[in-house]
Symmetry: D2
Subunit: 384 residues, 4 copies
């Protein structure tokens, strides 16, 4: 049966019980009834993987001990059973190898961010995508929010006039204490250079901030002057970063990405100003976009309303005033991924509204530039 | 296979393409991977029902022309295929008959609110529940929000001291214009007494407000003094209601439920005050609960945090700072429904945290009291 | 020297050191450099009065032991020295007598709210104003906020279309505990029927709410259905009130005025809806007015901006973004009072934008109707 | 008569009708009844100065044609008439000369910010202060807000633990268009290097931001890496600045001060994080301070409440819930100025809570460092 007439079948690498982002992928993937999770290699611990499979009501024969097992076994299944795509939700150092193997076997891939452990790995992934012709998505979740898409559309239509300033910030406080020394799992790998790569906060959330700024404005960061820091004795990666930015077209700005802003939850904020006005979006109230026309009253644009761009208001699963959140934004990425897969089957060369392997490579280069600039006393450094 | 080891199978009555609440039920029912939609009688128009089934990738043999067809045919299927429960998402006048028929055949039922067309119908549903022993849930969605549950828990623990005042309001603006005269579907049946019942705004959203106030405080409204109004010439039901309230234990309060507050979206707000402080929750920011201890700084309680009651923080599907919304609250009701069904199979007499048939009956009596009080010049009227 | 070429000279009755509202009047009266405080009878305790005079750097000869002393002595001073106007900031039962005596001697009067102890007293004050031809202002402070005036202007221009709903609320929490039994001065007289009159919360803050609703909309409350309550054993006046309202032209609404909403400070809020949109103002952010046009984005109107009505933006003492507050609103009332006094000297029959004796009388009738309605089980009661 | 028993007498240089900040000084100086404006040299245009004097009801003999006239004439008046202090509210290039002349004649001085045209001038002013022994205040208004003082106190008491991050931002949008080319007075001198000095936005508002960050935390900025820009062709001074910051004790941070953030009013924001929590204050709601203890609910601290530090709650002129604003903060600076003058007369060597000449010098050095760093490609530059 053509993929057009059935649900897409998904497998997962990583995401054993208790993990954060695996569960998020699972909810997002199934939310709109376009796909089902049918296979998984959830953990390096086979018992844990098996248990996760049971919790998900999976056929035990499709819960695998290793990701290679899964990729190989699934590729041998008949068309009517085989998974179509694989989500990779492991720590950074375990992104590239399974992604490349999956792509080589013809599976589409959704991979968590940052896309890889290093720029080199990211480039290898890019080559694998190009060679396989498969779809690879990167979960820069915030770009999935409808009001972010409205912000992007309004800027692309010139409603801000000439862009001048871009301020993006992503303050968190959860790494204020040395949680990794108490064995907290999320903290442990994120602060471990052998698992996380060269960036700490700059990789974990700085890449989100940089992607969002570029995605919304359509302007690339050309160079940056950064200050990274670790505030905990013995912590090997930055838990705090900031930069002055130079974008294309003479636009300037700044970026903050810190995980030691004690008391902050997860409130990314993006502000863009042109000579006709400003737009502001905050993750604290993601269904709202503030439009500040010069010398006129600020307008509060709200999700799902008819006055939004048609493409945006149609993203609303509920009428105005019914808040949607992080999971729905995540599901919007999956929806774009599914649409791309269906177009791919039909041989349609679509450009889905989905962060892709090039965005992933760019994210790794951003981390690299931030680390290098900071190491050279904030020297203005090109994102090569 | 026991229902403990598999997904629960769901059917739907109503909810053809284009309907609002049917799609919400479907997302909520599938979000957490505990159930799957496998059957439906989506529309009185068989073609439309068929089309909806295709969009949902259903087996065509389980898309039915009428709800009676579905109930009868499904009850004849073997245990390994038959649906376990049915969601009813039709207009009010089509709730009782399918619910009673489904219960009589042993299906659990999730029904939209208000539960019925009249107090009489509601009582018949109550009898059918009692006779069948099946689970019936009513989708008073707002009671599914985690921070509402935190509010309820804090009040039940006495943190407000003696409750004195309860203010609840539910302002919407979408019926400001006579949309029903332009054929808008949602407006048409809601303003039609032959489909909606005796209440307009008071039934559609007033019941939500009354239920939430009682759910959170554990206090019943004893009597009320109401003023209902229709602001549109020719509109046969109220589009606007307000009441002064008397609760148990001498607590007083007020309720506003209006659909002509032009420019308002859907911002229900509940405020409760005792002699030790106040608690405030607003649907405009549902992940936040404001705790206002007397003579101390207000505290901003936020979803998913460790400082919340354990039962509440565990409802979070994401860490603090990742907004969840209406669909997740709805899914929390479905999760309680599924838990109740699984407990039922095991013969465990649970009391799930789910609005049930008694809440549904009470909602109908509330509508009745509001209509009668308003008709008698605001006379204080008991909720019989 | 004509009053046009000099500062207006003010005296005060009440407002000894430690009082709240006396100090507010003094700041407001002097803020814009149009007047100076030169005389006072600040307390029934002559020592206290003397001390207050010293703190204000007054000439000791113009600090009086009684208000009658002040009125008589000042009226005997030469034109070049005599005060022009008197502020009365005593408890309610001490408003009418000094006001009438002052008016009879030709002094203009600014009196705190509610204007009097009873409807009867208020009517006597009205007669004294009519007889004397002098100016009498009542400090319904909230009507002095620029954004309230913008709200009024927009409604009067028809921007809301036909008005349908008016919601006004004034929640405070400071009388949650029986402060009057601990001797707290502000609480003591406000809860004492021999000083406060027939209304507690309904007089102290309900009159503000009712005045604001009528002032902004230009619509009078015709009748009301009220519920008053005292939540403290032994408290003789209501500390909590609410009402359903019927305004002119078929407009309906509700009012809340309570002093037992524990944890609330002083956040009056007014919302008005017509068939073209809604306007909302809250004392929590008084420099902002929310304009909610139907089916369009909400606009956030901010004080001092050029896009406001000219009469309103010119009220700003500072550019946009420099918050002004309660004292500035109060000073706006005094500015209107001074303008009226200067116009009066020139024989110009102006209608200043200042709550006057008729508003004061109306406030007392509002209290009376609220008390009577509540006493008769919420019977709809005319404001006679 | 000793200054303890009378109002302080003030003169003003600059501030002719139509100017913004002169009127603000006048309101602030008179608000609390501690002083009166009795003399002025309001404009280089004698007619304009005369007219301003009339509007202020001044004795015409004390309205002067030049500031030197005023300083000389007033110093020749008898003790019982002579002004005590002078406010200087002219553009930056006209601060130092009159300030020095006034100090030399024994007048206390309140001068607008930035304190001078250049570092050199500032140092001359410092010498004049030291030589004269007089009081010199600089109007860094934001440090006058009570909740800023609460923030400072809490940090000094160690409630944040070890400080790690300081973010300060001051976005305005009013210079988005080339207003100076249309003759707008405020824009003209601020963008003119011959009047404003070396800094545009960085001088006008960056100095406020830097001062506030240092004032609140007690930590000095050691070095900075800056990016300044002018976004308007032909504009000779920066209208936009940003910097990464290094404070004492290893604390890092960032600063934004821009006047081309179209649509922004005047919303300075300061956030400080330590290892125990964060504190946030925004000029958008200056009566609120957000306290974000690590892993605990955020607390919303509000002005005038009893739970604040005693020194702070006593600054409130009104009870909680009565917003105070910019003018009251400004008046708090004047109050400190007056207290210092009174202490000075008594020979008490007080350290008033008032930005002084050292703060003014520091502000000029901050401008200088920002300009130099930006000119050298963001090189980390010491505030010498």
């Amino acid at each position: 049966m053509s993929i057009s007439n059935r649900k897409i079948r998904l497998g997962m690498i990583g995401g054993g019980s208790g993990a954060f982002i695996g569960a998020v992928h699972r909810i997002a993937g199934r939310m709109d009834g376009q796909a089902e999770w049918v296979a998984g290699a959830f953990s390096s611990d086979p018992q844990k993987s098996k248990k996760t499979g049971e919790e998900l009501y999976l056929d035990p024969s499709r819960v695998y001990a290793t990701y290679s097992d899964m990729i190989q076994s699934e590729s041998n299944l008949p068309d009517s059973e085989r998974i179509d795509a694989i989500a990779i939700v492991t720590p950074n150092h375990l992104h590239a190898a399974p992604a490349i193997e999956a792509l080589e076997r013809g599976f589409h891939v959704m991979v968590d961010k940052p896309m890889a452990f290093s720029v080199e790995e990211a480039i290898q992934m890019q080559k694998a995508v190009e060679k396989s012709g498969c779809i690879l998505g990167v979960t820069h979740t915030y770009s999935g929010y409808p009001m972010i898409k409205e912000m992007k559309l309004r800027i692309s239509r010139g409603e801000l006039g000439d862009i001048r300033k871009i301020f993006v910030e992503y303050p968190q406080g959860w790494l204020t204490l040395p949680l990794e020394m108490e064995g907290q799992k999320q903290a442990s790998w994120r602060t471990d250079p052998s698992k996380s790569g060269a960036g700490g906060a700059v990789g974990d959330i700085g890449t989100h901030a940089a992607h969002l700024a570029e995605y919304v404005t359509g302007l690339k960061i050309l160079e940056l002057s950064a200050q990274l820091k670790s505030h905990i004795v013995g912590r090997l990666l930055d838990d705090d970063s900031a930069a002055l930015l130079r974008f294309e077209k003479g636009v300037t700005g700044s970026l903050i990405a810190t995980q030691v802003a004690a008391g902050e939850e997860n409130t990314m904020k993006l502000r863009v100003y042109g000579d006709l006005g400003g737009l502001e979006w905050s993750h604290g109230d993601p269904n709202t976009l503030l439009w500040k026309p010069l010398d006129q009253p600020m307008q509060v644009l709200r999700a799902s309303n008819g006055y939004l761009s048609k493409a945006v208001s149609s993203l609303g699963r509920t009428p105005p005033g019914h808040p949607e959140g992080f999971l729905e934004a995540f599901a919007n990425l999956y929806m774009a991924f599914f649409n791309a897969i269906r177009a791919h089957e039909k041989g349609i060369g679509s450009v889905p509204d989905l962060p892709n392997v090039l965005d992933g490579v760019r994210g790794m280069k951003f981390i690299d530039a931030m680390v290098r600039s900071s190491a050279s006393e904030g020297k203005w450094t090109l994102i090569a």
